[in-house]
């Protein structure tokens, strides 16, 4: 059994309000995120001796360039360009650094800008495999890749568009109570069903909207958080895995299915103990895959599970309690942080109107990088208060 994460906490969940388009650089968004972290924690820049950065649009810079850009002098530095898996991966590494004493306080930042053409450029050069073997095929971006997975999942397990629609509608209901969501109008199932097709079987409301924004949190020791008098949540267990089940002809599962026993054993809790779940939800089919892989229901039982629950923050099985990326927006690598900061909010009493009553334990899951035909990275963390 791996060493646990005793004594490590997460705190100061921060979101820099998203906008659809921005003329600022990624550095601006990351700077805003760091400033908010400091303001919220009462720390000075000098007290932050660890930095972890995730961003697609920071290029040509990486985390090290950002230290000079923002006048930081950390003794522990990490760059985690893993898209939707960034939040969990950054947390895992930062937690070990704090445990080992390599850093006292790690600021974990994720943020991306969105110029009018930067999304297309990100897609065109997303990866070598994407450039060679996906982008020349209609340049549909992740819509096309997830359309395949969705079509296959529907054919294999009998999922209906209405099942995906139910998740989208529930998340919109959650988002209406979240300050930072870009979508402010309610969504009905009829509207979902009537939306225009994007990449069949995906329609408009199945797809996340690219935007600009940043999210951040602190990783530090429990004593340090107490000394700073900031509310925090404990890290009880966490896993990550990359390129799992590589020989599956089409992705219907990812690393969670391989490592979930360890995750729950480490946390000393099971799926039934979770008060809420934050999945990575760039497309609803991926939420179902996570619910199955993480043991909330069996393989292929996603559709039945969806029909059984409400998924609102105050209903049965609270899921993506701030609306998730589908209703808040996808600010690049920030999409991999959105669930993490929301989970910390829920456990530190900062969730406002989205609050899950009596939330003590929550699971955050990350999924990232459609390198070719599937998402490579997966990870999950269980947080408790």
């Amino acid at each position: 059994m791996r060493q646990g994460y005793q004594g490590v906490v997460v705190a100061a969940p921060v979101t820099v309000p998203y906008v659809r388009y921005s003329i600022r650089a990624a550095h601006w968004w990351l700077a805003r995120a760091l400033a908010s972290l400091l303001q919220k924690s009462g720390l000075s820049k000098e007290n932050v001796d660890g930095l972890s950065v995730s961003s697609f649009t920071l290029a040509p810079d990486t985390a090290i360039g950002l230290t000079q850009h923002l006048g930081l002098s950390p003794r522990w530095l990490d760059h985690v360009p893993f898209g939707g898996a960034s939040g969990v991966v950054a947390l895992r590494r930062a937690a070990r650094a704090v445990q080992a004493g390599d850093a006292d306080v790690v600021a974990c930042l994720a943020g991306d800008t969105n110029h009018v053409d930067s999304f297309r450029l990100t897609l065109a050069n997303f990866s070598q495999f994407a450039r060679d073997a996906v982008y020349p095929y209609g340049a549909g971006g992740p819509n096309a890749s997830f359309a395949f997975l969705t079509a296959y999942y529907m054919a294999q397990y009998g999922a209906k568009r209405e099942d995906f629609g139910k998740l989208c509608v529930a998340q919109r209901a959650n988002a209406l109570k979240f300050d930072f969501s870009l979508f402010k109008k309610p969504l009905t199932l009829d509207e979902y069903m009537a939306a225009r097709p994007i990449a069949e079987p995906l329609h408009l409301f199945d797809c996340v909207m690219p935007c600009a924004g940043a999210d951040a949190f602190l990783v530090l020791s429990e004593e340090k958080a107490k000394a700073l008098r900031i509310p925090s949540a404990r890290l009880l267990g966490t896993i990550e895995r990359h390129n799992a089940f590589a020989s599956d002809p089409v992705q219907m599962r990812a690393g969670w299915a391989l490592d979930r026993e360890e995750l729950y054993a480490q946390a000393g809790a099971g799926p039934a103990d979770m008060d809420f779940v934050e999945t990575y939800d760039d497309y609803p089919v991926i939420s179902l895959m996570q619910l199955e892989d993480l043991g909330f229901c069996g393989r292929g039982e996603g559709p039945a599970f969806v029909r059984k629950h409400t998924f609102t923050h105050d209903g049965s099985f609270p899921l993506n309690t701030n609306g998730g990326q589908l209703s808040v927006g996808q600010a690049g690598a920030s999409g991999g942080y959105l669930g993490m900061v929301e989970a910390i909010r829920q456990l530190t009493g900062e969730a406002g109107e989205c609050k899950v009553p009596d939330a003590k334990l929550g699971l955050v899951s990350g999924f990232g990088m459609i390198n070719f035909d599937r998402g490579l990275g997966s990870g999950a963390a269980i947080l408790g208060c």
Partner: protein, 396 residues
Amino acid sequence: MLERPKRKNPVLRTRLPTLPPAARSRIALGLTAAAAMGRFELQQCRDCGTVQYPPREACQQCLSIKIIWKSQPDGGELLARTVLHHSNDLFFRERLPWRLGLVKLDCGPTVVAHLHDSVEKRVRVRAMLDRAGQAVLAALPDMGNATEVTVAEDRQLREFTCDPKFRKVLITDGKTALGQQLVHSMVKAKADLIWVGHSEPWKKFPGFSELKNIPQVTLLPLDLTDSKNVREVAAEIGAKVDIVVNNAEHHRAFGIGNRAGVETARAEMDINYFGLLRLAQELGPVMRARGADGQSSAVAWVNVLSIYALANFPPHGTFSASKAAAHSLAQCLRAEMRAAGVRVVNVFPGPMDDEWNQLLPPPKVTPPALASAKAARRPWPSTRWSPPYANASRSP
């Protein structure tokens, strides 16, 4: 089934050509090199035999770097399909909706492919060159060996062919047996209109009346040595030509030492090299502007060169040199036409069975064989750079 396009309204703006995404890593060009030869090749490890895709720098199984491009069985199963109604790229945006498939190949890898309209479960995958000149995979219905899939009849995949159907073709020389065979091939390939050049309009050549009686054919005085004539012909038909087949040539048999003076060599250059230059200067720009002009846009420029363009044949030394010059110029033309997606195809036949190769022993390429090889519609033409035809590449 492809329908005849409506007549073009000349008042409306002609759509400007765009290209699909052309960027590839260097290693991925192996797919393109094979596709240009009409072959479907994937990377295979020489040490452990693993077939892999997308292209990699090492074997994903055993990490060997001994990777070769090898022909693979093209069968596979369609796992999932999608129809794009949105694209981030201009080329595809103008051609939506666009069908794609996720295919599990029998030889191992899963691939993303452009999808033929009538695919069900079993597919055959083909590597084709897209408008940008880069290889892409297309999944076609598996009809067994019985029927051949007509790629050019598919609205989507037609974009990656140069099919003569419903197109207008210029053949620069109708006097030769090859020229006349080319006309027949184009008729068979359902070209709409065929302009056929003949350089001496006051003379009736053998086969003249047969050509004249083909309804699709318009005979046209065309002398590639006459700049003014070329310009006038281009002014008259240039904006309508979709495919050029430049087969006009001047061919005499001699080397350096066995004939005095440069007049004959100059005459060869005047047609074989300058003729191509004149034609390309007059027709090239207007064809470039029509690279995306609807279903029957300008698509291809075929030069009938000679295997001797690649290596000089001393008994026909100056002829070889003029064809080598034309080959070099054709590479320039290819680069200039590329931005419009108009494909430049060079054909390098071995010695043809005509009067100027009288003294060469067989085998020689017969004009019908060459004409049908070029007009073969699978897809037509399947290559940007045609290798010497196997049956014609004998060294003299």
